[in-house]
């Protein structure tokens, strides 16, 4: 009897009280983050700044290819071994671990500048400036595209 009672109490404490208490604290302290850093435009949720979404239009930055095709339920990786013939040689063709990598390296971004500049009829230097402003050695694709739509 004692072991069962012990197990039930432990389950209540670590499986109910602990996650609920954490949820209560973080929903007060970090309401946006705790709910997925969602971005809303015209009353429509357009995605999460942390989750990659597909882009095909030449006027946008494109994220890394996704082994799950940007499906988040569930997402996945290619799991290709390095000697697999399908293993990508081009860095721009590599898929991420989560399948939802929201970022691209600055080199991957630079590679796309001519295409975006042409589609938007802007000077490539303006896009170079956008990359230069990045505080991190990578670029968040969705946030950068929202920035592009606002006009540089």
């Amino acid at each position: 009897m004692q072991p069962i009672l012990f197990f039930v109490m432990m389950t209540l404490i670590t499986g109910v009280v602990y996650p609920l208490a954490v949820t209560a604290v973080v929903q007060l302290a970090f309401p946006k983050q705790s709910k997925g850093s969602l971005i809303t435009q015209n009353n429509q949720i357009i995605g999460s700044e942390l989750i990659a979404q597909p882009f095909h239009d030449p006027k946008y930055f494109w994220p890394r290819p996704s082994a799950s095709n940007y499906n988040a339920v569930p997402s996945g990786a290619s799991n290709l071994g390095p000697t697999n013939p399908k293993f990508p040689k081009d860095p721009n063709q590599t898929t991420s671990a989560s399948g939802l990598d929201p970022d691209i390296t600055l080199e991957m971004a630079r590679f796309q500048i001519p295409r975006i500049a042409e589609a938007r009829k802007i000077k490539p230097e303006q896009l170079e400036d956008l990359l230069a402003q990045s505080k991190r050695p990578y670029l968040n694709v969705l946030l950068a595209n929202l920035e592009l739509d606002k006009g540089l």
């Binding site: 499986g15 996650p19 929903q27 949720i45 071994g81 671990a97």
Partner: protein, 539 residues
């Protein structure tokens, strides 16, 4: 970029060396304090007696606790609503979380309800880690006490480990993770419509609270299928650093705690330095291999190379099944060295509790080997190491290895097993070998190309996890019981010192020798052959 890699590694190791002794002191305080009000209330409510237990009573309590956990998990999986769980997957997952392995043949976001994640998996993340800690405490008592049967009380030990170590740390970690962007909610999945009009379903849930204990407790089970690579649990390079630091912090702190318990910090530093040297050795290998290979396949941009490789090396050193990069797609030697760390028995820091008790078996084995060389009865900290102990030590050290080799060997001959492979050739062998290595040593990470959610793999790896866990844990308790009964002989001139650099070198050599002799053939035909193939330009 390589300067940056070096900088991150240096900061990481410096923090580990400076903070783990402080944590050791905290643990020393917590596990030696008199029973306080919170504890007393808890024992009263659960009718728990704080009686002393001998090793058989202690082991029985462990097994009873596992049994109750098993029944509860199977019941909860049965009641899961999101998708039905097959019996073999339920068995595999239950065993996996009970044994602190956290091998996952499913993806949480399309399989489990929030409340099952919490009540079944978060709970076992705490309790399996607390169980390992408790067994470690019993072994330490066996070493330090004299002429007694008393190894302490299992229920008290797991209560203290949970209440005063695991819960407080996890609360802090979970809040930190959310502050950076990890999610923690009970919302329904969110339907988004992307900038180009395409719909996307975003999973939600109490992810941060589960991730926090998954890294602290050497569990590593992901709330989401893609584990610590998922941006909703590991949103940036800062959270990544803290997570991979947390992976080694508690196992490292426990070594210093051990030093305080036996009254010799020097003994602890000898063990710590062996662990640290082996870790640095492996890290140098994995980093060098990745730098020369240089692909981003299966890795996240935000972590950077060092964030991916240091994470993987720390997680495989410490029986923590977390991954933030796909091991299948790493360079062959990086993936291979991570596998080799697990093969050595998860003792390079190792899991919470189980890392230290596994390492202490190697310490005693080394003492025995040294004793053979000089022709003296070997003794460790005043306790004679005799036939009974050596038998148990060998069993504990060999059990996971034997299970790994037999399981992997049989699977290579089994058509059902081979259909699960995601890659062919030497890499296919690596996938099989890794699956058994990871299960038998209760790590839980995977070469993810293996489609493991089939009856064959679920059952084969399920059995492997049980044999690996208890094949080590029961011998440890038996040794604890046997040592506790012995007299403590004061050290004499001829006593072999176990706190010297010479001993550290011998210990490191014994570990590498046992690992090498056991696994070299398989390891050569998997990772090494793939490396040579790749270097030769064929594919």
């Amino acid at each position: 970029m390589q300067a940056f890699d070096l900088y991150v590694v240096t900061v990481y190791l410096a923090l580990l060396v400076t903070l783990s002794p402080l944590l050791g002191s905290y643990l020393h305080l917590v596990f030696n304090q008199p029973v306080g009000r919170i504890e007393r209330t808890f024992y009263f409510l659960t009718r728990t007696r704080q009686n002393a237990m001998n090793w058989k009573q202690y082991a029985t309590a462990v097994l009873i606790f596992q049994g109750i956990g098993f029944v509860a998990l199977m019941l909860l999986f049965k009641l899961n609503h999101r998708t039905p769980i097959s019996l073999d997957l339920a068995l595999n997952t239950a065993v996996s979380f009970l044994t602190n392995t956290n091998w996952q043949a499913y993806a949480g976001e399309n399989t489990l309800d929030y409340w099952v994640q919490m009540l079944a998996l978060t709970v076992q993340n705490f309790l399996s880690a607390a169980t390992s800690l408790a067994v470690m405490l019993a072994l330490i008592r066996g070493i330090t006490s004299k002429e007694t049967q008393d190894l302490g009380n299992f229920w008290v030990d797991i209560t203290r480990a949970t209440f005063f170590v695991l819960i407080p740390f996890s609360v802090l970690m979970a809040i930190f993770l959310v502050s950076q962007g990890a999610i923690q909610n009970f919302s329904a999945y969110v339907h988004a419509v992307g900038l180009e009009g395409q719909p996307q379903l975003l999973p939600m849930g109490p992810a941060a609270s589960q991730t926090a204990i998954a890294v602290f407790g050497s569990n590593g089970g992901g709330f989401f299928g893609q584990n610590a690579a998922h941006p909703f649990v590991n949103p940036n390079e800062f959270t990544n650093f803290i997570l991979m630091f947390a992976i080694l912090l508690l196992p490292a702190g426990l070594v210093h705690f051990y030093g305080l318990q036996i009254g010799s910090k020097k003994q602890a530093w000898a063990i710590f330095s062996v662990m640290l040297c082996l870790f640095v050795l492996f890290l140098a290998g994995t980093m060098a291999s990745e730098i020369s290979f240089g692909s981003l396949e299966g890795q996240e941009v935000r972590f950077g190379r060092v964030g991916s490789i240091l994470f993987g090396t720390a997680a495989t050193a410490s029986s923590n099944g977390s991954v933030n990069a796909m091991m299948d797609s790493l360079s062959p030697l990086a993936g291979g060295l991570m596998m080799l760390q697990i093969m050595l028995g998860e003792i390079i820091f190792g899991g919470v509790g189980c890392g230290l008790y596994g390492m202490l078996l190697f310490v005693m084995l080394t003492v025995f080997l040294a004793g053979l060389m000089v022709g003296r009865t070997p003794e460790y900290l005043g306790k004679k190491i005799e036939t009974a102990e050596i038998n148990w030590i060998l069993m504990g050290i060999l059990a996971p290895s034997i299970v790994t080799l037999i399981g992997a060997g049989l699977s290579c001959l089994n058509a059902q097993a081979l259909t699960g492979l995601g890659n062919l050739g030497p890499h296919g062998l690596s996938e099989i070998l890794y699956a058994f290595t990871s299960s038998a040593n209760n790590n839980g990470s995977a070469f993810g190309g293996l489609s493991a959610n089939t009856p064959y793999w679920n059952l084969a790896l399920g059995v492997t996890m049980v044999l690996g866990r208890f094949g080590l844990m029961i011998p440890v308790l038996a040794i604890a019981g046997s040592l506790a009964r012995k007299k403590q002989t004061p050290p004499s001139v001829g006593t072999f010192q176990t706190d010297t650099p010479i001993f550290a070198v011998l210990l490191g050599a014994s570990i590498l020798l046992v690992g090498a002799l056991t696994f070299m053939p398989g390891w050569f035909l998997g990772p090494l052959l793939e490396h040579v193939t790749l270097a030769g330009g064929a594919s």
